[in-house]
């Protein structure tokens, strides 16, 4: 069951009613991220942050390993400084932290958001959802369809169709 909404508050109402009605596996489409929708859905915090943290720590470690290993592998005294001098290596460690942190964040988004969309490829969609309409897709048994439809229409859907 795919509903198209023209208004944000109507969408939020419909989400609240669906949740009260015990639906959990519905999908909300919106042209922009809105806190109202997030709050209504009450989802857990995205796991992307773990990707960022692990990537950043790994990058810093790789930076430290790269500089120290390469210095001690062929020790040459430069400018009378210790073979492994930490202060200049901090620059490399910092850059590697950012590089690996950013790349693993991208991987986190890709794994969680983009590739996941392929799995849900059969879920109904309407091209207006990236323009100016909000949408809710509710998978439902044929027996419940009528009830879901009236719920969505009651919340203010402009259009409800069976997908």
């Amino acid at each position: 069951m795919l509903a198209v909404f023209g208004h944000l508050d109507a969408t939020v109402d419909a989400i609240a009613q669906l949740r009260r009605g015990g639906h959990t596996d519905f999908t909300v489409y919106s042209p922009i991220p809105r806190h109202e929708i997030e709050d209504a859905l009450d989802q857990p915090v995205s796991p992307v942050r773990m990707f960022t943290l692990i990537g950043g720590i790994a990058g810093c470690a790789i930076g430290a390993w790269l500089t120290l290993y390469m210095s001690y592998d062929w020790p040459i005294v430069l400018g009378g400084k210790p073979i492994g001098s930490i202060p200049p290596y901090v620059v490399i460690m910092f850059e590697m932290t950012i590089l690996f942190g950013a790349l693993s964040t991208i991987l986190g988004i890709a794994f969680n958001a983009l590739f996941a969309a392929r799995r849900l490829g059969t879920v109904a969609y309407d091209p207006r959802f990236t323009n100016d309409k909000f949408g809710i897709f509710v998978p439902s048994e044929p027996a419940q369809a009528g009830q879901v439809e009236s719920l969505l229409r009651g919340a203010g859907a402009e259009e409800v169709r069976r997908a």
Partner: protein, 447 residues
């Protein structure tokens, strides 16, 4: 932005207005593109001569071995900085006005780093040995010297290029999906592939918004670090005029200054060519002008500090270097820099000038001329006037090979930039919508 945009700017209006920029752009666009390609051609011809006859063509003479190419390198890296400033730092500060201009700035960043990256390669003379910079185990088991600022620079620029490119692509995904859904024909196929399956579901937005926040948080210290590292290429050396602790903040402020000025220079014609007056308003230009004014005054302050420290430090070599800078054979470059960068932008204190598109366009061009000369002054004059080399006084002058390759770099940059704005949404569709009031069934609430 809500209070500055006409009320007819709705979600649908934004999508249509920006999708329209991907259509036929008219003769003006193709004329600009042809000019850019022609300039690039000039650069390529000069580069071929340089490859055939060697770096002697670049007018190097002892002790000036870093000259126009390194000047261009620092100039283009500097240009690259405002993009990430506007897209990441202002994102963290929740500045709504950035949404209309950040895509242009970010694309400019990526293409400016691409341009900057060419110059160290041109400068080394034997381009086919560039891979010596990369830490790989060569046949003698030697590794790069990580105590050298030049290797820091390679890591910093490499990271910056990678991160700013992925940041640009991330921001583009929801917008490509939006133009996919209104496009027809072969474009629809292209955007369907490049949108990577984006549909704007709650799950996608949840991960995307989080990830974008972290990317911005990572990019923010990166912006500040990259030009600091570039400045240490100079500040870590003992050459008078280079060896200064103020260099890192001085370079970062200068970089953002020149970058914001170029954003203004680029936005004026784009707004006109693609008729985006409703989305990019005078309000946006005024805010950019304020950023320019702020960073310009930091740069002006840094100029004062440099001369003051030279005098107050009482070091003969330092004093000689700065005397040479102001009154030596290159006095014209120094004064061009001071007038364009420290005095001209003071005009921006006046609101009438900040809100005049023409005045901003002219000032922004002068700022960029001034900022190019700033790098020339720092690099070439410090080397030419080096007091340790009194008997090798340089008669350095840039040659046609220098100017040609510099012109080519502008052609290269503008070619990529123009191709980008024609083929991808040059203004962020989803982020501009975020600052508009959302359509509500009840009374319209401005969020």
């Amino acid at each position: 932005m809500a209070e500055t945009s006409p009320s007819r700017v709705t979600y649908d209006f934004v999508t249509r207005a920006i999708a329209r920029t991907l259509g036929n752009p008219g003769k003006g666009y193709f004329a600009l593109l042809a000019a850019a390609v022609a300039l690039l051609g000039v650069g390529i011809v000069c580069l071929l001569f340089l490859l055939r006859y060697g770096l002697g063509l670049a007018g190097y003479s002892h002790p000036v071995y870093w000259a126009v190419y390194i000047t261009c390198f620092v100039f283009w890296v500097g240009i690259a900085h405002s993009g990430t400033l506007i897209s990441a730092i202002l994102f963290l500060f929740r500045s709504g006005w950035r949404t209309a201009v950040y895509r242009t700035a970010e694309a400019m960043t990526v293409f400016a780093v691409m341009t900057a990256g060419l110059f160290p390669l041109i400068h080394i003379g034997r381009q086919w040995y560039f891979y010596w910079l990369i830490p790989y185990p060569n046949e003698r088991g030697l590794w790069p010297n990580f105590k050298s600022p030049l290797i820091w620079d390679e890591f910093a620029i490499g990271t910056y290029f990678t991160v700013s490119t992925v940041f640009l692509i991330m921001g583009l995904i929801p917008d490509i999906a939006a133009v996919r859904d209104v496009a027809t024909g072969w474009r629809k196929k292209l955007y369907a592939i490049t949108a990577l399956g984006w549909r704007g579901t709650n799950e996608q937005w949840r991960h995307y918004a989080r990830g974008y926040l972290y990317l911005a948080a990572l990019a923010t210290p990166l912006v500040l670090s990259v030009h600091s590292v570039v400045s240490w290429d100079f500040a870590m050396a003992i050459v008078p005029g280079w060896h200064a602790t103020i260099f890192a903040p001085y370079f970062v402020a200068g970089a953002i200054y020149s970058g914001v000025a170029l954003v203004i220079t680029l936005l004026v014609p784009i707004r006109k060519l693609f008729r985006l007056e409703d989305l990019i308003t005078v309000h946006h230009f005024e805010n950019l002008a304020k950023l320019c004014l702020l960073t310009g005054m930091i740069v002006g302050y840094a100029y004062c500090v440099e001369y003051f420290t030279a005098w107050f430090g009482g070091h003969a070599a330092e004093q000689a270097a700065f005397w040479y800078r102001a009154f030596g054979p290159f006095w014209w470059a120094s004064w061009t820099m001071i007038i364009c960068n420290a005095f001209l932008p003071l005009l921006l204190w006046r609101k009438t000038i900040r809100t005049s598109i023409l005045a901003l366009f002219v000032i922004s061009i002068f700022v960029n001329i001034g900022m190019w000369f700033e790098r020339f002054v720092i690099i070439v004059e410090s080397l030419a006037g080096e007091p340790f080399e009194r008997f090798a006084n340089a008669t350095y002058n840039p040659t046609w090979a220098d100017w040609g390759i510099m012109a080519g770099s502008f052609g290269w940059f503008f070619m990529w930039f123009l191709l980008f704005v024609k083929n991808f949404p040059a203004v962020s569709i989803s982020e501009v919508k975020e600052v508009l009031p959302a359509p509500q069934r009840g009374k319209a609430r401005v969020s």
